[in-house]
Symmetry: C2
């Protein structure tokens, strides 16, 4: 239901100023929308006419095979831009991982703006590509333990290297991102915990106990 949204959810923005962030320029004429947990933001094979930015919450992009196997392309947290992963049509769908507030802008408007603004769109696309390529390496050549370690490290890095990190998503989402099953994810998390690499304060919050150990497990990659 990307475009058939409720108008109560839409708010026109008075030129948001998010701390001198250059990407904010992309969204000067956007609208905000709210999505409930697990609500679809856009669907596989829908037109890719909009681009999006997370204000609050978390988003996943997913692709489902005919028999139900699911792959998550990426997660997007506060300030991340998504929806660029497409030609004319989206190859993945996007869903709210939990209740989320999303800023939306027309891609065509962006293209029309030209120059500097357009270049920011290219930059964002390039970052997406880099992340996708890291993901390819992870899925192609890392073990289950390395995948989970990479995932936790990535989350920690995204939070500016914080030692205590929240997991916005459940175990099934992690599994579908890492190309594993929920049981294997759970086992690897337990294993990392008993190896004093991380420590779970709650099901969805962990502490990095041994950052070097975590990096070593994650970055066997050169």
């Amino acid at each position: 239901m990307a475009l058939a949204y409720d108008y109560k959810d839409v708010h026109y923005l008075p030129t948001p100023q998010r701390g001198g962030d250059p990407v904010a320029a992309l969204f000067r004429m956007g609208v905000t929308m709210t999505f409930a947990k697990d609500e679809e933001i856009y669907g596989q094979d829908e037109d890719a006419d909009l681009i999006y930015r997370v204000l609050e919450g978390a988003v996943r992009t997913t692709r489902v095979m005919a028999d139900g196997r699911r792959q998550i392309g990426d997660f997007y947290l506060a300030d991340d831009v998504f929806g660029l992963e497409a030609g004319p049509r989206h190859r993945f769908s996007a869903e709210a991982v939990r209740d989320s507030v999303i800023l939306v802008v027309k891609a065509s408007a962006l293209r029309a703006a030209g120059g500097e603004i357009e270049r920011l769109g290219w930059e964002a696309t390039r970052r997406e590509l880099e992340r996708a390529q890291e993901h390819v390496l992870l899925l192609g050549r890392k073990t289950a333990c390395e995948r989970v370690a990479s995932f936790l490290k990535d989350l920690s890095d995204k939070s500016g290297g914080a030692r205590v990190v929240d997991l916005p998503m459940g175990r099934q989402d992690i599994a579908d991102y890492l190309g594993l099953t929920i049981e294997t994810v759970s086992r690897m998390l337990s294993q990392l915990q008993s190896g004093r690499i991380v420590s779970f304060c709650a099901t969805r919050q962990f502490r990095v106990v041994n950052p070097e150990g975590l990096a070593r497990l994650a970055d066997q990659a050169h």
Copy 2:
């Protein structure tokens, strides 16, 4: 050795006209270079100041982990553009799969050109992203047999849906692209052949015997 090339390999181009191809505009002021089989075109962590187009031959992008595990990011055949997969520095290296002729242009020159030309660069980056995301799905959720089938179908599609297709790369490269071992690739190829899906005329050339069967195996993806 991307930049320390031999000058004998460099030829300035008299505005190449490749059949009205729009991407050709990107390369109006490029130079051609030749690379021998397995020669490096650019290295991991090198500056990403150039973009490339295959004129003849084939190229692979690779990433090697500390312990030698290797992942191939993608293959590039005649007319494909590569080298966009990067911020300031390349995350993958690029090597010639066999003797190849490559057209090279400065990315900064392209950026300076602005407008229409720059947009083509964005388009090319977006196509790269789409391919990387297909690769993620393949590596995350497809079985060995499906991966090999997808690979063969992809090659056939790239050749305009040809029934008889050449494999420019060896089995090890296929394995490193698909996240498998060389033995498994070989076994799956044999299996597809005895299932009358494809038929190998030579080690590096096959015929698509049953296109629907191949598509069914490859495209369990919606």
